[in-house]
């Protein structure tokens, strides 16, 4: 079996299994902790504060006016590379074919040249993110192995993907094999580190929004 066959065969199967089991365990592991009932009388009806919670998923996507002057540049950087990742992962035709093979359906993609430009821009933003992480006193202090390794595995997928697309440095099949292997690595790491925020984002915002709305407070 060659590298490509290994990467998209047994390695991918193992990686997907680790990813699925790991994600489920990571969520079940804390959901099974006790959930206390709030006995204090709510200010709003359950329907209203649950609705406010769902609304907070959207409203928290944009910083409040009071904060934007301080947080705007950092949030713009964060949003930019997430949009880049979204475009690269979900709108590149070979990815659509690959994911479609797993899901059983496909959707239209964008031209390869456009995706290449987005990838290079995203790569640049990723380097800027790393620079910010090591130079910003607050972010540097908060950072640990998880932050740097999550950055590394994501970056590796982008770099190998660009190399494969540009046929840089080796045979296409080898480069593609390395790209898929790096993706396998990302899948394996995903449940153990901060990449899990992809699953946490919506419920976390919704819960906090609902709890604040329960008190009638701004969220």
């Amino acid at each position: 079996m060659d590298l490509l066959g290994f990467a998209r065969g047994p390695a991918l199967k193992v990686a997907l299994a680790v990813f699925c089991l790991g994600v489920v365990w990571r969520i079940v592991g804390f959901v099974l902790l006790r959930i206390r009932r709030d006995l204090n009388k709510p200010r709003a009806s359950a329907l209203r504060y649950l609705g406010s919670g769902l609304l907070a998923v959207g409203t928290r996507s944009w910083p409040h006016r009071e904060f934007i002057a301080r947080t705007g540049p950092g949030e713009a950087l964060g949003y930019s590379y997430h949009i880049g990742l979204f475009v690269m992962v979900l709108l590149f035709t070979p990815h659509i074919v690959f994911i479609g093979g797993l899901l059983g359906f496909t959707w239209p993609g964008l031209p390869s040249s456009f995706i290449t430009v987005v990838s290079v821009l995203t790569l640049t933003l990723f380097l800027a993110v790393l620079f910010r992480r090591v130079t910003h006193p607050v972010i540097r202090m908060l950072s640990n192995f998880d932050d740097y390794f999550s950055w590394f595995v994501t970056m590796l997928v982008i770099v190998t993907g660009l190399a494969a697309t540009a046929h840089l440095g080796a045979r296409y099949e080898t480069l593609l094999g390395l790209h898929i292997l790096s993706f396998d690595l990302l899948l394996v790491w995903f449940p153990f580190g901060k990449l899990m925020h992809a699953f946490y984002l919506v419920p976390s915002r919704a819960i906090n929004g609902a709890l604040l709305a329960r008190k009638g407070a701004v969220s």
Binding site: R140, I207, G209, V218
Partner: protein, 439 residues
Amino acid sequence: MNHSAGMSTANLAPAEARTPQARVAGAMRGFAQEIGALSAFRLESCIHCGICADACHFYIATEDPQYTPIWKVEPFKQAYKRESSPFAPLFRLFGFKHEVTADKLAEWQHLLFDSCNMCGRCSLICPMGIDVAALIEQSRHAMFEAGLAPKELYHKASHQQNTGQPEASAEPYRDQLLAIGSRFSVEIPLDKPQAEIMLCVPRTDIEHYPGAVAALARVVKHLGVSATFRSDGLVAENYGYYAGGKEWQRDISLRLIEQAIACGAKTLLVPECGHAYTALRWEAADLYGKPLPFDVRHVTEFLADELHAGRLKLKSAITGKTTFHDPCQLVRKGGVNDAPRALMRAMGIELDELANHGGFSFCCGGGGGVLDIERAAPLRYRAMENKLREIDDTGAATFLTTCSDCRRTFDDAKVHFSWDKKPHSLLELVADNLSPTGT
């Protein structure tokens, strides 16, 4: 920091001396009692973006990264990952998270108590929606169990739990309350066996702002409602909440709850005291173990309802250009946003709002017990400069608020900075402008 440095600089009550092992065990016990699915989810969700720093007045004033709100719970985040998280065995196996030491806990005392007002502004900025302030409150509980509550808060909480008063006084508060009634020529309803509304009072008002106590009695009399103070449940403040002593917080709340039940009150009226509102409105039932058999309302909520019902009529107040400080515990953490503004509108006051107001208001800097911690004063003054600047920038001649601890913090700043503003009580302004006709 070496092993002994954290402990040697900690601000401890002598009664809380214990071995490092006992401190860690206490903290972990307190932490384990707190950790449920919700707090675990909050700890899981942090992406280390550091944005919460930009909401915190301590960080904004100093640009010192240690004041980043989520960093203030770092020992407990570390303990959660290592001891309770779904992959805890892996964290221990690979040594990603070390055991929390007593020295580290002691080092964090300054961050969890001196430099956090539990104001909750950080909870509004987190892009993941984490309620960082809730995590800090839980961490304070663990610190208390480790014997690491600052001595000022510990002593006051202990005294209040034992006697009902946070500090000894030459005259019992009950007698001081009656004396205030005589001084201001207002009837103080005390120890009525039955009443619709049970009143309580901030000891800050008894000691520093007796006019606010008289104002409460005057509005109650003016409205003709059946109300009473109760000698055995007089003090609104809850130093157990500040110190992180959950059992003490419960015992202190129980004094009020039991008295309210004893007099058949339908409402427990919280006076101008922000954290008393949080402790009674949003935490007391959980500590009591069942829903409270009465409503808990802030005095401004009660008065705004009376206003809307047409039972309270107010005259126009001559205040000139006026601004208002929203107490964090009432507004951001309590949801009492509209009531104070409705009262001011009814008195013809057009507010010049602060740059950050309502739920986004900056804390006065004294909340969360910080005003009581002597060692915290220099940092507190730095952290409140921005707030004072915002107030100055409105050009307001009158500056109102509705929390006696906020008032005391601003009055302290007035002396410290030779500041030319004086905080006034909204309740006192209402009491001064009561009108049977509404003209």
